[in-house]
Amino acid sequence: MDLKNIIVCSKCNTPHKKRKLLKNEIAKCQVCENILYRPFPALKYILFSYSFSAFIFFVLANLYPIIHLDVAGYKGEFRILEAIFYIYNQGYVFLSLFTLFTIVIFPLALLILTFVFSFFVIIDFKRLAKKILIFITVLKEFVYIDIFFVAILVSLVKVFEYGEIMIDIGMISYVVVLLIFIYLYRYIDIYYYWEMVDV
């Protein structure tokens, strides 16, 4: 019995035998109709190109200001790294380090690792890709850029009535990064990544 050819439903734990799907087919659980798997024929190329694009936009989002604020003569701008260093200088070391890791370092590492992972899969170097995937699987649980984005929007609403707010190139880049992140790590289940290296 080869376990690689068996898939267990994540909802009801019913085991099913896997088979190769056609382009528009979706495998569903016989018992609860939960989606078991769907075909992602070009996933390695999607990961390769999207992670590289997201990397470029992520750098832009961190280098350029996200928002400009003008309140009664006070002109402020919000850059992610500057905000983190400001909090660090205020003595909130743990808070700043947590933000630095979950908003900057982990997402950046995740993108780089995804890029390297997909590259190794493309050149059929699956043993090394598998080792990288372990890090990707763990890291993706600790990336909170989606929450941070909502936090930016909530903050905008809070300061909206006090002055003029302008969004900058950083914000646009951040939105692009966020959309790619949602697609790569929320929409595509990590199961499909693992299926590529299950050797």
Binding site: V8, C9, Y74, A83, Y86, I87, I147, F148, A151
Partner: protein, 193 residues
């Protein structure tokens, strides 16, 4: 007979301790989950008592706790934002503690009733748990946006306690395993059907 790895989705034999593909432990530690949730609860109390944010407008200082911040938003008429912050910072953490304690209690004492409902509760806290960080990140963004000598926003100790609370609860949910209850109750679902 089979067990699905929660991390990578691989199919494993039920008696195996580690996943054949990603090598993660297949059986979680529910006692650890309880301990982490309890630590989180301890930090939740000062997180609500101490101010989370300090605002200085032309040398006049205001400090706000989480509840104060929500009330200010509500009084200003920003009802949707007040509701979002209330859900993320008050409702979800409280629900999360109640659900974690309830699930650990169910696992420990084999309370098999409403197993499907418990599964839904587990899914709810897995998906929504880390959204409690919203308030902490709002403080970070406001601090980064407004920091001149005459007007500034700064985090206060409440934000730190709240952050620690969220970290503990996120780790707690990661260590919680409802499959153990399923097996104890005969819902080892692959066998059951």
């Amino acid at each position: 007979m089979f067990k699905r790895c929660n991390r990578c989705g691989a199919t494993n034999l039920a008696f195996k301790n580690r996943c054949r593909r990603c090598n993660v432990k297949l059986n979680s530690n529910n006692l650890l989950a309880f301990s982490l949730a309890f630590c989180g609860f301890v930090f939740y109390i000062p997180a609500n008592l101490f101010p989370i944010i300090e605002t200085n407008k032309f040398f006049i200082n205001y400090t706000n706790t989480i509840i104060d911040g929500i009330l200010v938003l509500w009084e200003k008429g920003d009802y949707p934002i007040a509701v979002i912050v209330f859900i993320a910072s008050v409702l979800i953490p409280v629900l999360k503690f109640i659900i974690i304690f309830y699930l650990v209690y169910s696992i420990k004492f084999r309370k098999c009733k409403n197993f499907r409902f418990k599964e839904k509760l587990y899914k709810f806290i897995s998906v929504t748990g880390h959204w409690s960080l919203l308030d902490v990140f709002v403080v970070v963004v406001l601090s980064g946006l407004i920091h001149s000598e005459s007007i500034f926003v700064r985090p206060r100790e409440g934000a730190l306690f709240f952050l620690i609370m969220v970290i503990f609860t996120v780790l707690s949910v990661m260590n919680l395993d409802l499959d153990e209850l399923g097996e104890k109750c005969g819902y080892s679902r692959s066998k059951n059907r």
